[in-house]
Subunit: 192 residues, 6 copies
């Protein structure tokens, strides 16, 4: 069966404006390949640029949640949204960040009951409430998070990551975005 | 009852970095007040900057959907997500763009069956499918949109606006964002 | 686009039996126009008569909930049911009864988390439970209402208004009932 | 376990105003007992009177749906709403009207797929759409009903019965209304 | 209308392998007829044999829940799953086991709020959680069951019966399995 | 964090009755380890025996669906049910049977829209309808399956596998069954 990267035309590195080419090339150098999300969003360079900026503002922030915790939010909410690209790609990153080859499959398959630390459970519960039932999200959810020890700054972090991937999941569904083959195995094998 | 703008600290114009102060001031000048979303997101300037960039890339795009159609997507999906800030603020903009004082209440209250033109109905159906049921969004939704005459470029527009406001709705729910009083009446009165 | 009042034939004042003509004319005199629900239900005079009787028994009752509280129940449950006629028409009445130009949009858009007094929140929670999830409505809901200070008489009031507008919302959906243009602006402007 | 008729005080025949006493006594004479709904609603005579009027206007109407078809709508929608009183009491009436001792259990347990005639299926589908998913009820539902041969007058009948029992189901849930023991067996045995 | 036992071919007693013929004949002798589930599943003797073995292991177990409690789980979860065969057939068995002619209709119509003893309520709540929302089933559900006095052995019993009828309900839906006429009246009449 | 195999006591090979010990040992020999489901269900040997019999009757049947197609049904419905054990364990088997290292993650994450052959899509659609929405499963689902070329025998196969794993998923949720570590990597690497 045809395995297209996106329902829409994609942009290769050379098709991108110089600033985007440089940023995407830097990612590709680190991971060894160009993640398909950049080729798909590159079809609209202004949107790719805004996405990268938002991504960096939220995912690379120095304070607050750890990087593994941010990926935990991504995988949990993308699992709840049945978003294959985000589960497979960020599942790989979560395995690496958490140094745990099984965490991503467990979180993505059932974020509601997967066994986690109390802090991680509070993070995931807050994220799921905002991702899946935004209409009823409210003070009770914040109180539960605070009771588990999350600061207001960390609560915003959880919310911001959840919000960004509410967007990101929908871009992936819109484009039927295919995960790169490389992601499936990343972080599953012991490092030699 | 206390009527705070956001659950989190807010930034006034003077608290913002110069580039953001300038951009927000320009909006305030046009509308006569600073929309509360800028004060709330200003708590995290990097996220406000990324949001403004994404917003401009998607909502100010020259081609594709008309501006009224983009606001129609915002109001329909924000109604489905029960997002008070986005319904009230973008409802005002939709009334103005569509030159129709009743359209926003009708679309926000029931986006599923509100009487629209065939093209508008196709736009709203596509947006609702992606906003509310992303897991099952697929070829059938795109085929329906194409059958109603939407081009692939317009389909991406609908998807991109829907995705951005999936994020935006969740930021509003996270912060319990209060709409400015001014929005409630904008576009409801005949222009003198 | 054709803007019909109802999917079915409508009755004008002169088409109604004398007792109904008198009752509807009295309403029209107070509000300045004939609310469309009377023209639509007038197609079946026996049903219009029963509806008016039920409405008066529940909405005009002297004891129990205040009139503003009864309208709060109507707008909250009609919002949850996405009923455009009831949200727009009773939203107008709620604005007037509560002397608050913004309350209706806030309650109708998100009845689950709109900021209210503790008593109002208890009223709305009880109403939403019965309106939207009748199968699981039970002692827990009543206990919560009693804990917030509602008497059993007030609880019945909430239930009776909710039940009546479960009917009313469905008549509006059945007939695709169009709100009169006048309702959209009522109660939004300061009284001169 | 205590088997109360209602969560709220009930009215016996002698407690009712004369006009209601006469109407309820007439029903009791026909069925051999006072259906509990009248004792429970009798707590608020004005609401009982309005309910009886609405009931007669909708359920005793000479034209349109047959009496068995009206009861079919009641049992199907009350089954979908998990309303024990209405399923048990109107299940008894449906068995008698349809002269079929098994129809009520089959319709109430699974109104969605129970085997029916094409006309009955169209009636039940229309009723379920309006009862359970009012927000998305619209032209498609009416077109399906018309395609199955229902007239607009019959469609209104289905809608009116559905709307009345949306109210009635919620009154039963509000009061935790207990079905009279007699209903459970009515219409199950061959008439000697 | 044609009243077939199953969408698929059925097996009569004489069509079955000897071991199954003997087991089913023993049931038929006790109840006076061959329950249709055996004729329908007999189309695949290996599956009928496995089903009977699983059924006996779970429903005939000496320890743990009483037989009436096991049937309570069956009727509650089959009601929640709208499974007509299981509700009608096991409703009959529940009436007999619990010596209560009304319990089955009440439990099947609304398992969520039917008035039960505290122990029965805990059993039904646990069963419904696992039957209807397996993804979120977890420690909270077990804690509630333990708080109501259920032992871990009884909890497993509830879970095993629920799991078996998750299978059984789906076989009945797959085959459109028709309940035998005899079941409808069993256990409703006082024993003479 | 404690990583127990099951919420309940587990049985090791030596704890099992001889016939079960032999059957489980045979599986262990093939796979190199004892799958945890056998240790958990071994707590109730009669239920383990019945489960193995049902499993063999349905999953090892010579005719009808291919073995890869049966595993496709298991992974799709277990994904829809968020069942971690079944997704991880049968995902491994599906990768091996389908000779595709990525199929399981794609199917489990989003069974509704994963790109499949027309026949596989029909199988998965039928399975999801029965697994997730049994109440509305009916002739339309069977017609769709037949239109895609499935025979009635294959349709029963899809239904039987779906029903068995409706049971199996719930046993896994009941016991909080932990997948063996070995499953996570099986079938992901090219065979040397």
């Amino acid at each position: 069966m045809a395995e297209t990267v996106s329902r829409f035309p994609v942009a290769e590195l050379d098709d991108l404006p110089p600033d985007l080419r440089e940023r995407v090339a830097a990612v590709a150098e680190r991971s060894g390949f160009v993640p398909n999300v950049f080729r798909a969003l590159g079809h609209r360079p202004a949107e790719l640029r805004a996405f990268l900026d938002y991504h960096d503002a939220v995912m690379e922030r120095a304070d607050g949640l750890s990087k593994a915790e941010r990926e935990l939010v991504v995988v949990a909410t993308s699992g709840a949204n049945s978003c294959t690209y985000c589960v497979v790609a960020h599942g790989a990153i979560l395995r690496i960040r958490a140094k745990d080859p099984r965490i991503a499959d467990r979180v993505a398959t059932n974020p509601w009951t997967v066994e986690l630390t109390e802090r991680e459970r509070a993070i995931v519960d807050l994220a799921l409430a905002l991702a899946v039932e935004p209409a009823t999200f409210g003070e009770t959810d914040l109180d539960d998070a605070r009771d588990a020890g999350l600061t207001d700054d960390e609560i915003w972090d959880v919310g911001a990551v959840t919000a960004l991937f509410a967007l990101s999941n929908r871009i992936a569904h819109l484009t039927a975005l295919r995960p790169n083959d490389e992601f499936y195995l990343m972080g599953r094998l012991p490092r030699g």
